[in-house]
């Protein structure tokens, strides 16, 4: 927080993959040449208009973009303050924002001549998106998923299998998302020739945080255009949930240099920040190095990574993308938190008032919207990223509400 304000917030990472003190390339030597190759291939693809054209074409006809910007009128009335808009990325094919990034990476993998795709998944949304794109392009797909998550996300496991992917349960460590990531990295080290690692969030070694952000930025670019058309001006606030932070980076990034737009990244406070059972890396963690980058992590005093907890499996990761770590330190984005209980309440309110069953991830964002909107004027505007639909979560929600299905 001692750093002075930069002229632009969109100029990073630097050549070393750093966002201030965060990011970097903390990987084993075996992977280093692959990461350098990936960076080069990504630069070449980005400079090639035909790559973006191909991606845009798939985003339009396969994913269904642009996703609508929807004025949540009844929720707005209910809260009695700022006008609330949802960026409807839950309407994408596969039901979440994950596919935006996956398509970009899979098209890149094809350009690089890779024939085998690996991915990690927690809740299963990124795994499903990856399996989907691999089916579409006829690529071999292996998804690593912690044993604990395999048990609690059976429907998504079956979806991935229907799509032709091999789902490998990970039994090492805490048997959750972070261990799935470790196992994917181990696979990559062992299959360097033909394999492309499709990371699901804005974390990992450079260039992943930058690349995933760029692919997800379609969310913010569309939202900006849409709000200008609907309201003739930029919003006062953006709100998005944060696990690794890809949907939030995607919404925030195109607005970072618009000084009047406030931003709120909502971490999962689980059972409460003071209980230790949460997934709030910025509010409840400190800087460290894991999975190829320096960022805020949940860990003990000896640098051992601790388990995250959230009612939302998609937020259940003990780290956060390095660009968020930097945006926090320079004070551009406000990082706040919502508990399991607050997210559950928001989930129900949204379902009842708007006829939209949100995923538990954006329910955290919505919980914060419900706190801030009533405090704002009626002519102020909030855009919240509705980054996933809640069908996958109905079993979890039923359980917490004491309902037997």
């Amino acid at each position: 927080m001692s750093e002075h304000k930069p002229n632009t917030y969109t100029g990073l990472p630097d050549a070393k993959g750093r966002f201030g003190n965060h990011g970097g390339r903390f990987v084993a030597e075996t992977l280093m040449p692959l990461i350098l190759e990936l960076e080069e291939a990504y630069r070449a693809a980005r400079a090639d208009p035909s790559f973006q054209e191909e991606l845009d074409d798939f985003l339009k006809h396969y994913v269904g973009r642009p996703s609508p910007l929807y004025f949540a009128e009844r929720l707005t009335e209910h809260l009695g303050g700022a006008k609330i808009y949802f960026k409807r990325d839950e309407l994408n094919h596969t039901g979440a924002h994950k596919i935006n990034n996956v398509l970009g990476q899979i098209l890149l993998a094809r350009r690089m001549g890779k024939t085998r795709i690996i991915a990690e998944t927690g809740a299963g949304q990124h795994g499903v998106a990856t399996a989907t794109a691999c089916a579409r392009f006829g690529l071999e797909c292996v998804v690593y998923m912690g044993e604990v998550d395999v048990e609690r996300q059976q429907p998504n496991v079956f979806r991935m299998k229907l799509l032709g992917a091999e789902v490998v349960p990970v039994s090492s460590g805490s048997r959750t998302l972070k261990d799935a990531l470790n196992e994917a990295l181990r696979d990559w080290v062992a299959n360097v020739e033909n394999t492309f690692y499709c990371i699901g969030t804005v974390a990992g070694p450079h260039p992943y945080p930058e690349m995933v952000r760029d692919f997800q930025s379609v969310i913010g670019r569309e939202a900006k255009e849409q709000i200008l058309e609907a309201e003739g001006r930029l919003p006062d606030a953006l709100v998005a949930a944060i696990g690794g932070g890809s949907n939030a980076m995607g919404l925030f990034y195109p607005f970072l240099d618009d000084a009047d737009v406030e931003m709120f990244g909502v971490e999962a406070a689980g059972r409460g920040l003071d209980t230790g059972a949460h997934a709030a890396s910025i509010l409840g963690g400190r800087p460290g190095v894991l999975h190829g980058n320096r960022t805020y992590l949940l860990m003990d005093e000896d640098g051992q990574i601790t388990e995250a907890h959230s009612i939302s499996a998609g937020l259940d990761y003990p780290g956060i993308g390095p660009e968020h770590a930097w945006l926090h330190e320079v004070g551009r984005v406000n990082y706040v938190a919502a508990t399991d209980t607050e997210a559950l309440e928001a989930f129900q309110v949204c379902s009842e008032l708007e006829g939209i069953i949100p995923a538990l991830e954006p329910s955290h964002a919505l919980a914060h919207v419900m706190k801030m909107a009533p405090e704002m004027d009626r002519d102020e505007i909030i855009i919240m990223n509705m980054c996933g639909r809640g069908d996958k979560d109905i079993f979890t929600v039923a359980k917490h509400l004491g309902v037997e299905l």
């Binding site: 990987v27 084993a28 075996t30 090492s172 805490s174 181990r186 190095v289 005093e301 990574i305």
Partner: protein, 278 residues
């Protein structure tokens, strides 16, 4: 390379060269299966034939390691191992042994959280000679490699089958002590390296450096150790030793005896290789 720290590692490899034999480098995880047993294993390794000791600093998320060493980390952490205890193990070892090099091996986060400066000072004071930090490639040398050299510790580099001739000079730039050749593309202790491939790769690397080259990541038996030692200046054995600890029924005595027995057999294999080679 005047800024290369001179440690017990250089002295050891020079002595081995005079004796015309190769080095046996053994890896164990500090605190596995518990602090006391681990100390007894460590203290007896030189007597059993280890020329260089790699002592693993346990970590919850060992991304470059196979199941054997992952489990070793978990056992150690469960038994309460910490960085301070690992450094204390080295200090105790040094009370009896002032010649066998000790290299701390692990991942960056526990070091970073301990504090880089404090870590380098405490490690040097404890009698550590070198560091292998798996997730610090040359691109991140300013983090710990350069400060370690400054503090008088060797920063041991890994070269892999993916480190081609173009990249090799970058890997070698701040390397000192010895070079660890990772004989497979993969994680530790999973598949066996092909001896002929390894020999060709090590010969290639030796055209770029005068540092001793030790070969590891899949060496399990005395026979393999013997074959691979011929290709370089030493072999590293880790997972096979750690597996003995995992299998030991009574925890303590059996683990100590088993690790030292295998070390003796490996040392014998490596010694024969030295004779073949000269």
């Amino acid at each position: 390379m005047s800024n290369e720290p001179r440690t017990r590692i250089a002295e050891t490899f020079e002595r081995l060269q005079r004796e015309g034999r190769k080095a046996l480098v053994t890896f164990i995880t500090a605190g596995d299966p518990d602090l006391d047993t681990s100390q007894r294993i460590l203290d007896g390794l030189p007597q059993a034939g280890a020329d260089v000791i790699e002592l693993g600093m346990p970590f919850t998320d060992p991304m470059a390691d196979g199941p054997a060493i992952q489990l070793a980390s978990q056992r150690a952490l469960k038994a309460g191992q910490t960085m301070e205890k690992t450094l204390a193990m080295v200090r105790r070892f040094r009370q009896e042994d002032d010649t066998t090099p000790i290299v701390l091996m692990g991942y960056y986060n526990p070091v970073y959280v301990y504090g880089n400066e404090r870590f380098l000072r405490d490690a040097k004071d404890a009698g550590v000679d070198g560091l292998i930090i798996v997730d610090l490639p040359p691109e991140e040398d300013e983090e710990l490699c350069l400060p370690a050299m400054e503090a008088g510790l060797n920063f041991i580099r890994l070269a892999t089958p993916t480190t081609d001739d173009e990249r090799l000079p970058k890997v070698l730039t701040n390397a000192s002590g010895f070079l660890y050749y990772v004989s497979i593309t993969g994680v530790t202790g999973t598949r066996a390296p092909d001896a002929r491939d390894v020999a060709a790769q090590v010969a290639r690397i030796k055209r770029h450096t005068s540092l001793p080259v030790c070969i590891g990541f899949g060496v399990k038996t005395p026979q393999q150790a013997r074959t691979l030692a011929t290709a370089g200046d030493g072999v590293v054995v880790g997972s096979a030793l750690v597996d003995i600890i995992a299998r030991a029924q009574d925890g303590g005595a059996e683990a100590v005896r088993g690790v030292h027995e295998l070390t003796r057999a490996l040392a014998e294999g490596v010694r024969v290789a030295g004779k073949d080679g000269t």
